[in-house]
């Protein structure tokens, strides 16, 4: 029994309606779906809408919005109702899009080759050489397959007479395929029966075709092709899509710093060494791709990439410089170009356009402003499209003046009244309402020509009556159902169950950046804990303030500044007048972000490292990291508050250390986290113990108590010896006792173990320093401490520990060069035993 849903849907006579041919009357290819909607109860429809919203939320689909007051990402919004395109209509649409892709590819080949289009007067030089998008350094570079355009997107609009028009071309790194795929997964599950009965074409073949095309066209020199997806990073508006597509296509998701160019060859830096990259799907604009030859201030690109392109050693999808085609001012010239380059007329028109650089066009534009949309001729102008009829008074005068002053910078397009499609609204009185829609279609290059994705991203205006569709402004999207000529073979989109063959034990090709951030996460969390410990030891003594304690304090402050936890200053705390200054120094050692070694600075560095390996950390780990971030908020202003904050920091750092051992999968990345922790602790402890050993004899004894505290060994000491700290047993416990996880010996032993494992797995020589250090610790004669004046023993141990500290830094540099930046470290002049 009809619910009246379709009857109530508004139908406007001066627009094309995608669903209705007349009020209450669905078009033939919509009738089955309309019937389906009518028989479902309102509650059932509500449930489906809720299902779609939940699915988006649980998949974490987002679209980052620049300058969004609510935060930097918001959920992707999908309307649960698909847009349906009939098989007949699709035949023409897809042929037209494939042709346009072929044409634009040929235009790129001409502009970066012989430039006949310009010399024959088919294209104004201003629209080529006058565009920032034209990259002179790319001139003459021929891509490996001869193809410039591998993935192409085109925005279409349908006018009231039912015809489709091209309103924009996307030729650099078009976005939308991943969102289209995501929309399909969700919406096809909301209406599974309708999806099957309507013979909707699958999307999977398109992606497979693209993948195969890349593999076959990449210059592999007989190697198995490695293709990567290059993203600007997590702050990009479509980062979700980059990650989603990379996973779907099986491509490593990389940032510029993950790649390096050596001898005109692109490599991915992995923990296992450099791996040659044969193809790059880029989501980075031309300008940012190579700081050496394009925008020098780009931190996102890969230095030397253009060299590899010129040498035809890497396939870029799309070719660098393809952004030159994104100007709407080219539209008017394409029909002539199509005849010249393809020898055929264009199957689908672009929306009528007038480039103001031609005097007759300028005249037409100024006379017919109300019927036109004014756009920049150069996308680099960052100007929004303006509807002539909306401009009044001063604004209108100003625009006209600007156009007259620089006519070549403007293009006018006919204003297409967009077609309408039904949208489900949760809150409005009328559930089914109409909104303006536009299509984004995609084509991909294969060695046999362009294939078109049988589907689209249907973009919906954010509210009724709004004409500009932009995801950046908060638009909605729809799944697009393209009907097949006949029944569809049942093939699944994503493999539903994994088999034994799919099981992975370790992640291969872990990017070096991941290892580097884990390594520094290890070092920074260890450093936070060590600083917090020694600062707490100092603060508790000041709080207790006696003369005796002052003497103890001076050694303690020396040690704190020795490990960088305290700013360098005179460390004499005996003077009463200095007391206030000392308090301030200690407070800033805790919370001053401007001070490099402060707890606050280390916490911030830790947070940055953790953010870069977000997907590898458990939610428990994140809770602790979040608590660490708030531990110093608000900044402590009294010693008591500082003590409380330091306790929080220590506690949470200890949790992190626990997670590192018990909560993380022990793959290659994890090993770097542990290496970082051990290296940091080896350096820190060695420095602390050296301070004690280098003190004169009477002072030395007064330093043992806090040394045990700072080395977190006081409980063990008391349990073992039940007496006040003495030099020999303390040295044994914090230096030599390999059963104590806070001893130097323990760090050396475990470093040796992890490095040996890493040398074996990753095939590099074992750094020689660590075994030497272990040997020297083992040979050290502790009986030397038993003599009355053991200064000689102290000096010998101090020298050993100074080498141990040096070794820690040498190992850190070695790890850095070998695994993270893959460069050669010059042999150092310093000698290391």
């Amino acid at each position: 029994m009809p619910s009246g849903l379709i009857d109530a849907y508004p139908h406007s006579v001066d627009r094309y309606d995608e669903m209705l041919v007349a009020k209450g009357a669905p078009r033939p290819h919509w009738s089955a779906f309309a019937r389906r909607l009518e028989v479902l109860s309102e509650k059932a429809l509500e449930q489906r809408a809720a299902f779609v919203a939940d699915a988006i939320e649980s998949d974490g689909v987002t679209y980052n919005v620049y300058a969004d007051p609510k935060g930097n990402s918001r959920p992707w919004e999908i309307d649960m109702l698909p847009l349906i395109i009939s098989a007949d209509e699709w035949r023409d649409l897809s042929a037209a899009v494939a042709q346009r892709a072929r044409l634009l590819d040929a235009v790129l080949a001409d502009l970066y080759g012989p430039q006949n289009l310009v010399s024959e007067g088919l294209l104004p030089p201003a629209l080529v050489f006058g565009q920032r998008g034209f990259k002179w350094p790319c001139q003459g570079a021929v891509p490996p397959s001869g193809r410039f355009l591998h993935l192409y997107a085109v925005d279409l609009a349908r006018s009231p007479d039912g015809n489709w028009w091209v309103i924009a071309d996307r030729t650099q790194g078009p976005s939308g395929t991943g969102y289209a795929l995501q929309n399909r997964i969700v919406v096809s599950h909301a209406f599974p029966d309708a999806f099957r009965n309507l013979h909707v074409q699958k999307l999977v073949g398109f992606f497979r075709g693209f993948q195969e095309g890349m593999a076959r066209m990449a210059p592999t020199d007989g190697e198995a092709p490695l293709c990567v997806l290059l993203t600007p990073g997590p702050y990009n508006e479509t980062y979700f899509e980059h990650a989603f597509l990379a996973r779907y296509l099986g491509y490593p998701l990389v940032e510029g710093q993950d790649l390096t160019v050596r001898n005109d060859t692109v490599y991915l830096k992995t923990l296992r060494g450099l791996r040659r990259v044969h193809a790059v799907v880029r989501r980075l604009d031309d300008d940012f791709c190579d700081p050496l030859e394009l925008r020098a201030d780009s931190a996102l690109g890969v230095a030397g990439l253009l060299g590899a392109v010129r040498a035809s050693r890497v396939l870029m999808a799309n070719a660098l410089g393809s952004g030159v085609l994104e100007s709407a001012a080219l539209f008017g010239f394409l029909p002539g170009i199509s005849e010249r380059l393809l020898g055929e007329p264009m199957a689908m028109p672009s929306v009528a356009s007038w480039w103001c650089g031609e005097p007759p066009a300028l005249e037409h534009v100024l006379e017919n402003l109300d019927d036109l949309v004014i756009k920049p001729a150069f996308p680099s102008m960052r100007m929004e499209a303006v509807f002539g009829h909306q401009l009044k008074g001063e604004e209108r005068k100003q625009l006209i003046a600007s156009i007259k002053a620089q006519p070549h910078a403007y293009v006018a397009q006919e204003w297409v009244r967009l077609s309408q499609a039904p949208v489900w609204t949760r809150h409005a009185e009328r559930r089914l309402t109409s909104r303006s829609v536009g299509l984004r279609l995609f084509a991909a290059a294969t060695p046999d020509g362009y294939i078109v994705m049988p589907g689209a991203l249907t973009r919906v205006a954010p509210s009724a009556g709004i004409e500009v569709i932009s995801m950046q402004r908060g638009g909605l999207s729809k799944d697009t159902w393209v009907q097949a000529e006949g029944p569809i073979q049942r093939s699944t989109l994503i493999k539903e169950k994994l088999g034994v063959i799919d099981l992975l034990c370790t992640g291969t090709d872990i990017p070096s950046r991941v290892g580097e951030n884990l390594f520094w996460m290890g070092r920074h969390s260890e450093r936070c804990e060590a600083s917090a410990r020694i600062l707490r030891a100092a603060l508790t003594r000041i709080a207790g303030g006696t003369d005796e304690i002052d003497q103890e304090l001076s050694g303690l402050l020396l040690a704190a500044s020795r490990i960088g936890a305290l700013s360098d200053d005179e460390v004499d705390a005996s003077d009463d007048a200095e007391e206030h200054r000392l308090e301030n120094r200690l407070l800033s050692a805790v919370s001053d972000l401007g001070q490099p070694g402060s707890v606050a600075s280390n916490l911030r560095a830790l947070a940055i490292n953790a953010n870069h390996v977000r997907e590898r950390l458990s939610s428990d780990n994140w809770h602790v990291l979040n608590r660490l971030e708030t531990a110093l908020k608000p900044s402590p202003v009294t010693l008591d508050q500082a003590l409380g904050a330091l306790d929080q920091v220590m506690l949470n750092c200890i949790s992190l250390a626990g997670f590192a051992m018990d909560d993380m999968t022990r793959d290659e990345g994890w090993r770097f986290l542990i290496l970082g922790r051990r290296i940091e602790r080896l350096a820190g402890l060695s420095a602390l113990v050296s301070v004690v050993l280098q003190a004169s004899e009477p002072d030395r004894e007064r330093m043992l108590e806090w040394l045990l505290e700072a080395a977190n060994s006081i409980v063990t000491y008391r349990a073992r010896y039940r007496r006040t700290p003495e030099l020999l047993p303390v040295m044994h416990l914090v230096v030599f006792d390999t059963a104590n996880p806070h001893s130097i010996g323990f760090q050396v032993q475990s470093l040796k173990r992890y490095l040996a494992r890493s040398a074996q797995d990753l095939g590099h020589p074992m750094p020689p320093q660590i075994a030497g250090l272990e040997r020297r610790l083992g040979r050290f004669d502790l009986t030397a401490f038993e003599v009355e004046h053991c200064d000689l023993a102290c000096a010998r141990l101090a020298s050993l520990l100074s080498d141990a500290e040096e070794t820690a830094y040498v190992l850190s540099d070695d790890v850095h060069h070998r695994f993270f930046i893959h460069t050669v470290q010059q042999s150092r002049l310093r000698s290391v035993a």
Partner: protein, 325 residues
């Protein structure tokens, strides 16, 4: 026949605060061969030894040396040495050039009108580029000297003269990154700024102009000897004249370059032809030390006598008679 030969030594040294682990560099230091200029010998000496080194020719025809360093280094020094021979150019009399409006109209787009290769190439130098702006202000400034019907070269010469007279040479006033609009407002700058300004003026009127990079022979103050390292790189402007080719103008000195301007190469602006451009991994705090010495052949032996600073012998030392034979 009026001929001169120069020896040029151009040293660039970077000292880095911290070791640089990886570095890519592009050098545009090799003087081009031109109808009036022949680069008889050229050599680059680079320390440390680069891991990879390769030459290529860029889109504007300049030879580029691409270097890649993969080992830690805290110093990078590049010595470029050249022997260049110049002949007097046949400078066309300014009156022989076409009226400037006809040149502008000829470069302007007209649907279906074919362009010969020279004109096509000239259109690359008609628009905005990294350091060049197209502005009404610039067009107006130049327009006062571009009176109706004036031959193009006469008009350009007037513009050059005006910039020379109204702008003050002041190395303290600008940096490499100072925008041309600021130079226009402050009326101060160096050769690079004046070149960018003059190019901006010309292009704002629809005239094709390119940025020339090279060296200038300087004269020591009267009675003083020529000194090693006392010179600098230089920049000037070249204008496209249909039928005649490109004509050079030096707004910093108000001269039409002839026997004292040595050309390295050209581009749309400085950023296309900067002598050295690089990307580093690591490093920090690195202003280069640059020393340029241009010396006529007859003073060469006299200048490079100091045993501590011998000019690297170019082998074989070119001989004018032989190279002409």
């Amino acid at each position: 026949m009026n001929k001169v030969r120069y020896h040029i030594r151009h040293d660039t040294t970077y000292r880095y605060d911290q070791p640089v682990g990886e570095s890519h560099q592009l050098l545009r230091l090799a003087p081009r061969d031109l109808p009036w200029q022949q680069c008889v010998a050229h050599r680059l000496e680079i320390t440390p030894e680069p891991t990879h080194s390769r030459d290529f020719v860029d889109s504007f025809g300049n030879t580029v040396r691409a270097l890649h360093f993969e080992a830690d280094h805290d110093l990078l020094s590049v010595r470029s040495e050249s022997w260049v021979e110049l002949q007097s150019r046949t400078l066309p009399p300014v009156e022989d050039s076409p009226p400037w409006e006809s040149v502008r109209d000829m470069l302007r787009y007209q649907a279906g009108r074919r362009m010969d290769p020279d004109t096509l190439f000239a259109t690359a130098f008609l628009f905005e580029s990294t350091d060049v702006r197209l502005k009404r202000d610039f067009a107006d400034y130049a327009g006062e000297r571009f009176t109706p019907g004036l031959p193009l070269l006469a008009a350009v010469e007037h513009l050059m003269q005006r910039i020379f007279e109204e702008f003050i040479f002041d190395p303290e006033a600008t940096e490499v990154s100072t925008p041309v609009t600021e130079v226009f407002a402050s009326k101060r700058g160096v050769c690079q700024d004046f070149a960018h300004l003059m190019i901006s003026c010309l292009r704002s009127l629809g005239i094709a102009a390119r940025y020339m990079s090279g060296y200038l022979l300087t004269r020591p103050p009267p009675g003083r000897p020529r000194l090693i390292g006392a010179d600098a790189t230089h920049a000037w402007v070249s204008v496209f004249v249909p039928g005649l080719g490109w004509a050079d103008f030096d707004p910093t000195n108000a001269v039409r370059p002839d026997l004292e301007h040595i050309t390295i190469g050209w581009g749309r602006d400085f950023s296309d032809i900067s002598p050295m451009r690089g990307v580093l991994l690591g490093g920090g705090g690195h202003e280069p030390e640059i020393a340029v010495t241009v010396v006529p052949e007859d003073e060469f032996a006299e200048l490079y006598t100091d045993a501590d600073q011998p000019a690297l012998a170019l082998d074989p030392v070119p001989d004018l008679r032989i190279s002409n034979g």
